[in-house]
Symmetry: C2
Subunit: 122 residues, 2 copies
């Protein structure tokens, strides 16, 4: 179970990524997040996030009838959203790389190296 704090800032980008694959709607996005392994993301998380993306012109939305329930609100990425998604991917990779470097040292039992500065001072 991924803690909610850890999703902050990441979930938004991931939802944009899902929309970029295919025009889709909130309820379906929720199912896809589960399939990808994000766990069960609350609807009280997804819908406000989608509304915010729409307000910031990251996505555009159209209503379409569903054969088996109320009408769906389908989202697509705008050009601005595409640019934002690319930026998100870059930022995520940056964080991911930093964490991996750190984990590598920790798992290796590698202690802090003395920096050049400290060595000079000795």
């Amino acid at each position: 179970m991924i803690p909610s704090q850890m999703l902050k800032g990441t979930l938004e980008g991931c939802i944009m990524a899902i929309i970029s694959k295919n025009e889709t709607y909130g309820y379906e996005i929720s199912r896809q997040l589960e399939e990808y392994g994000f766990g069960s993301i609350a609807e009280g998380t997804i819908y406000p996030l989608l509304l915010r993306l729409e307000k910031n012109n990251m996505v555009s939305a159209v209503y379409r009838q569903s054969e088996l329930g109320p009408k769906r609100k389908y989202y697509s990425l705008t050009d601005k959203g595409k640019t934002e998604l690319e930026q998100f991917a870059k930022n995520y990779r940056e964080l991911s790389a930093a964490v991996e470097r750190l984990f590598y040292d920790v798992e290796d039992g590698r202690n802090e190296q003395k920096s050049e500065r400290d060595v000079k001072r000795e």
Copy 2:
């Protein structure tokens, strides 16, 4: 530059990871985060976080003199902190794996696959 929202929930674990390598103090942690590629993390972030870890018994602290400034507050991981760090690592891997799966599909231009449920309905 990693956006602050994306650090939420991750930074705490990373700081515990740094402490686990070696007893260390706030100012030095800030330098190490920079070296690992997290960027410049504000002191207004680090010190409250350390105090919280201490309050929750994840770390213990002792003051030691410094030769070149005010005394330092050195932190070590408690047993509880070590358990928490392991849990953090598991959670992080879980999130990371989910994001990688998603990115893989997006970069492949892979569209949503129809689930078994949908196929049956057709």
